[in-house]
Amino acid sequence: MTRAEPPDHQPEWPENWPENWPENWPEQWPEYWQDLAAGYILNNLSDEEKMSWEALLQQHPELFDEVAKLHDSFHLWADLVPMRQPPPTLLSQIHAAAQTQLNPEQSPAPSVSPVQESRPTDLRQRRLTWIGGAIAASLIAVLGAQLLSLQSQLQRANRAIATLDTQLQQTQTALQQAQTQAQAVRPVVQTLQQPNSLIYSLEGSNLANAASGRLMLSNSQPSEPEVIILVQNLPQLPEGQVYRLWAALPTQLGLLYCGQFNSNAQGIIQLTPSSTQCREQPTQVLITIDAITDPTTRGGPVVMQGQI
């Protein structure tokens, strides 16, 4: 079939188209109305053609049948499209949405809301889901990084706690030492607080020239140690040797043995005089080195001596 050109028939057409056309003009000139019908289906009628076509349909409603066939011809393109199987989940989605509309109060599919009925799941929802998934993945990554950071911080904290434990043990040891020293010093302080105490300055001899110290002699508190010796750089003696304390009394010519001791790390020695005469305001005190087996009738070499 070839499309007839209207100008070929133009001489036979009445001037006042279509009112004055003969009743059977569609049969006489099918090419013209078919052209309009095709344009109508293809939606490419000009305004003038559209007016003509609408008027023609009013006069000849039987043309609707031919319009329908042209419509079907145009839509045959759909039949050439290969059929495709939709995703298997789609039917359940549609069914759920339809069921929701049927029973709005009983929503069988929470994912399909009444709002979604008027507009099914679309790309925006997919993108939102995708964005939500991306945010969740980011959160997981961030939380994972934070967990690693926390683990690292925990390890550092554990190391700090271990260090603090060591420091605490050291402090406790130092505290115990301080308490021991305080206990040792307490008598010294008490002795110093007594008004009748005698204090002697001790100096080292050639045998212990670096040694120095103080000797305090108390008379008023018999329950407390009467003699306290504070020394520095007086070496501790090996087993079998002792330091012996001697007192020079104004009432005696010789030295009076007052007791024996060994030095210690604190440098604080407390002892009770072997004779009460030792507290009778000696004018001089001496410290000698002796064998522990030596008699106390005479002393060995003098290492320190002191006077009031």
């Binding site: 095709a38 419509h71 759909a78 199987q85 939709p86 509309q101 009925e117």
Partner: protein, 195 residues
């Protein structure tokens, strides 16, 4: 394509006609929607995919079409077959959606999707299912002059206006109108005993 026109004999229990299923839909029977879906979803989804060019939007469109069938009493059996109604509705809605795309990115996405379709093609089973009817249609389309077939394809699958087609093909608007109308009338003439 219309199930009402099926003429073969089968031992299987008789299937409800489209008209019966539509009547069931109107009475609120959701199961009827499932039967219609089984019957026409591949047609609707395939056409939506052809026009929109991607499976996501084709899926959305298929859902929209069947919910429209369920929700609105828009189909009148006296005015044509259900398959014709569904393809017309699917094409119209898909082209509306296609037109809502404005960015070049969307066009590229569609183009890439169609390119993918060409690669995928149809499997032998689908080809066979198209049958004689398809071959007849293909033959009729092939008989069209290329210039007319190209315009009709663009008009149908892309919904471009005549002026848009003229711009794309760089031919006068009058030529587009003439060729498209000639092509459609030629197709109608070729398939006059088929429609």
């Amino acid at each position: 394509m219309d199930s009402d026109s099926s003429t073969f004999q089968s031992n299987a229990p008789p299937q409800p006609s489209d008209a019966e299923l539509i009547a069931a839909l109107k009475s609120g029977q959701v199961n009827a929607l499932g039967t219609l879906y089984d019957r026409y979803s591949r047609l609707v989804y395939g056409l939506a995919y052809r026009i929109l060019g991607n499976s996501e939007e084709a899926e959305d469109m298929t859902q929209e079409i069947f919910l429209t069938l369920w929700r609105r009493d828009t189909y009148n059996p006296n005015r044509g077959s259900l398959s014709s109604f569904l393809t017309t509705l699917t094409r119209s809605r898909s082209i509306d959606k296609l037109r809502s795309r404005s960015s070049r990115l969307r066009f590229l996405q569609r183009w890439q999707g169609l390119a993918k379709t060409e690669i995928m093609g149809t499997n032998p089973l689908e080809q066979a299912s198209l049958g004689e009817r398809s071959q007849r249609l293909k033959s009729a389309m092939a008989d069209l002059p290329d210039s007319e077939r190209q315009i009709l394809e663009i008009a149908y699958y892309e919904g471009l206006s005549q002026s848009e087609i003229a711009q794309r093909l760089q031919i006068p608007l009058g030529t587009v109108k003439t060729r498209s109308r000639q092509g459609l009338l030629r197709l109608r003439q070729t398939l006059q005993d088929f429609i």
